[in-house]
């Protein structure tokens, strides 16, 4: 009797710890967002920023062209979208990372290391530069569909290959790396045949940035991120089953191949929508879930929301750094994230580890 109670108490204790972690991350996101908003060129202070945002949401009207009206206008239309996009990117990439790691039973998988980001980037660039869209839809949705098809190629190649040959996690990632090289080569080819001066643009596309974000560009990623992460969170139990291995998952009643294909489609769509608007940002889907698993264990039900919050915090923090480091100039957020993420990736490869998944 008392033993049973102990387990119950332990479980609630664990759940509490996880909830506290998520709450802390959310608080961190709010604080970092506030700091980031204070760099606004108009001298609006830390608390004032929150005030303006809350007032705007509540629908407060300011006298036309007054100081407060300008403050509100600048803050709401140039700086808030940036924060929103940062949160979306963090959530989206982290949730994709968690899903892919479980789907492929590979702790090193994420949209960037497997080549999905670069494939999507190639698709988007092809749409923007040549105006060629695979769907009849034009405009930004056309770019997204192209990016989706581009991102799907590496995703499907890896799913297919791993069903034909038994690939170790490391080999899978290397194939992804090779594909990302092919895609960035093709991308440069497209850019250069279009216009000699766009080489610079091609390069910049490969390093994500949140600069110049507007509300219009946030809508599509927002919808897809919410829908995609809701689905992936809903299927977190199935993802847990998959990490037991394919045959165990099958014997527990999961249609493994169908589920995996469906999830990869969603991941590709989500990543495509993000890449089309911000460019390639790597390692978020690798670092955030990894840290969360280290602290909270491997249950996807908690790993997903916690990684989403931590991912947002990571992206916003990196964005803040990118704006502060060479103020008044600005670095690109993708650069900062690689600077932090790449060493962690190296550490994950080299260390000897047992436990979640067998890496080598």
């Amino acid at each position: 009797m008392s033993g049973g109670e102990d387990i119950e108490v332990q479980y609630t204790h664990h759940v509490q710890r996880r909830l506290i972690f998520i709450a802390f991350c959310t608080l961190g996101v709010i604080l970092v967002a506030g700091f980031s908003l204070t760099i606004n060129g108009r001298g609006i202070g830390f608390l004032e920023c929150y005030e303006y945002i809350i007032n705007h949401i509540l629908g407060t009207e300011y006298p036309f062209r007054s100081d407060a009206w300008f403050d509100d206008y600048v803050l709401w239309n140039t700086y808030v979208p940036r924060i929103v996009m940062g949160i979306l990117v963090g959530c989206g990439l982290a949730v994709c990372g968690v899903a892919m790691q479980s789907l492929m039973n590979n702790p090193l998988a994420d949209p960037y290391t497997v080549g999905i980001s670069d494939g999507a980037c190639f698709g988007a660039v092809a749409a923007i530069v040549t105006g060629f869209s695979l769907s009849s839809v034009m405009g930004s949705m056309g770019v997204v569909t192209n990016a989706f098809v581009g991102g799907l190629i590496p995703a499907m190649i890896i799913v297919l290959l791993s069903s034909i040959v038994r690939l170790s996690p490391a080999t899978t990632i290397l194939i992804g790396v090779a594909m990302s090289y092919i895609f960035s080569g093709l991308e440069t080819t497209i850019m250069m045949t279009a216009d000699a001066d766009t080489l610079k643009e091609a390069y910049l596309w490969q390093i994500g940035t949140l600069n110049g974000m507007t509300w219009e560009r946030c809508y599509i990623p927002m919808i897809l991120t919410i829908v995609g992460s809701a689905f992936l969170m809903y299927s977190s139990k199935n993802l847990n089953l998959l990490s037991l291995g394919d045959s165990s998952a099958k014997s527990l009643g999961l249609n493994v191949d169908q589920f995996r294909t469906l999830c990869m489609l969603i991941v590709a769509f989500l990543v495509a929508s993000l890449v089309s608007f911000v460019g390639v940002i790597g390692f978020v889907g690798l670092v955030a879930p990894h840290l969360v698993r280290m602290l909270l264990g491997g249950d996807n039900k908690f790993v997903m929301p916690a990684s989403m919050m931590l991912g947002s915090l990571f992206v916003l923090f990196a964005d803040l750094l990118s704006r502060v480091l060479i103020y008044p100039g600005e670095l690109r957020v993708g650069l900062i994230i690689s600077m932090i993420g790449a060493p962690i990736f190296l550490y994950m490869i080299v260390r000897k580890k047992k436990g979640y998944g067998e890496v080598f």
């Binding site: 490391a170 290397l174 090779a178 594909m179 440069t188 250069m192 910049l204």
Partner: protein, 355 residues
């Protein structure tokens, strides 16, 4: 006729076949390089005009059209020569590294050596930081590249000591090192000068466009010397593919030899990278094709890889010159060709053991 005599004849015949194949590749490479001189989109240069300029320079007479002369003699000719030597150097580096580490995926690029060198070079020409505080531009770039290429080299030596590290993991570690260095390189480019992104890009993919008469001597000399040195120890390197312990019983001092060879390759890579940036997958593709023709004996593999490396790089450069009006960086072409080959090697490696 005794069986021994017969065997010996077959052996010699197959060897002479290997040598003649290597010579064929070499001749092809030189011919392609010669052809690439005639490919230029700058100005209204015709085939005959280029030929006249070349003839004039070789016979010592003067040329009328100065711009044409500049394009052909100061730009295209060094570029072709640079292509020959860099292709050879990368291929030799790859062939030897693959044997030393018993890893079919190793080359100066996948193990991160080239990216380390690249960071060193960029460090000097964007920020003016010289690690040995030298003033000479070429020397400072190269020494920087050399010092920083030692970091991945040492990392490889250390990581390869672990028994549980598979060839794939090794390369993955190399690629992670590459990500770190590349991020640092981009950061430096951004901080130094917002306008230099284009330069950064060309550097990160590799180009032959910066070749000139001043720097090709440096590259040509180091590639020749180090390739010859590696060729001198080729028999020992061949024995080392049987594993360290077997090599030791056959009188090869395995560990020091590995470190010395890796250092030589790092030096060669650093020098090449300081002038061309990082050209990907060359050291991977050329040795693997060469192995199909001449087998795994390093005595034949090193020269044949070198010839094939030159041929492939110059071929890719011709392609790069024809595709784009302004001259696309050759590294783009090599990664489009090399990427799929890398994937095929990976899948093959998942099926069977190498050597």
């Amino acid at each position: 006729m005794s069986p021994e005599m017969f065997d010996e004849n077959v052996y010699y015949r197959s060897n002479s076949r290997k040598v003649s194949l290597t010579i064929v590749f070499l001749v092809l490479a030189v011919l392609t390089a010669f052809f690439s001189i005639f490919l230029s989109k700058i100005g209204d240069l015709s085939f005959e005009a280029t030929w006249e300029i070349l003839k004039a320079h070789l016979s010592g007479t003067s040329v009328d059209n100065e711009i044409h002369d500049l394009v052909v003699w100061e730009y295209n000719v060094p570029r072709a020569i640079m292509g020959l030597f860099v292709g050879a150097g990368l291929a030799v580096g790859g062939a030897v590294m693959q044997a030393l580490m018993r890893n079919p995926l190793a080359d100066p690029y996948t193990t991160g050596v080239a990216s380390g060198a690249s960071l060193g070079a960029v460090m000097f020409f964007t920020m003016g930081i010289s690690l040995l505080s030298l003033d000479n531009y070429t020397l400072a770039t190269t020494t920087n590249a050399l010092i920083l290429s030692m970091i991945p080299t040492m990392a490889i030596v250390l990581i390869s000591q672990h028994k549980h590290i598979t060839p794939t993991t090794m390369i993955l570690a190399g690629i992670a090192i590459m990500y770190v260095f590349r991020a640092a390189t981009s950061l430096m480019m951004f901080v130094a000068d917002p306008e230099s992104v284009e330069e950064a890009y060309i550097w990160s993919v590799g180009t032959l466009g910066s070749a000139s008469w001043d720097n090709i001597w440096f590259v040509a000399g180091s590639v020749t010397v180090i390739s010859v040195l590696l060729l001198l120890v080729s028999n020992q390197v061949t024995i080392m593919t049987a594993g360290d312990r077997s090599a030791s019983t056959m009188g090869v001092w395995a560990k020091p030899l590995r470190i010395i060879c890796l250092l030589l390759i790092a030096i060669m890579t650093a020098i090449m990278v300081s002038f061309t940036g990082t050209i990907g997958f060359m050291g991977l593709v050329a040795p693997h094709i060469a192995r199909v023709f001449v087998g795994s004996n390093m005595r034949y593999l090193i020269p044949c890889s070198a010839a094939l490396g030159s041929l492939i790089l110059i071929g890719a450069d011709c392609l790069a010159k024809t595709i784009s009006m302004t001259g696309m960086p050759v590294g783009v072409i090599t990664s489009i060709i090399g990427g799929p080959i890398f994937i095929i090697l990976l899948i093959k490696g998942a099926k069977k053991v190498w050597f």
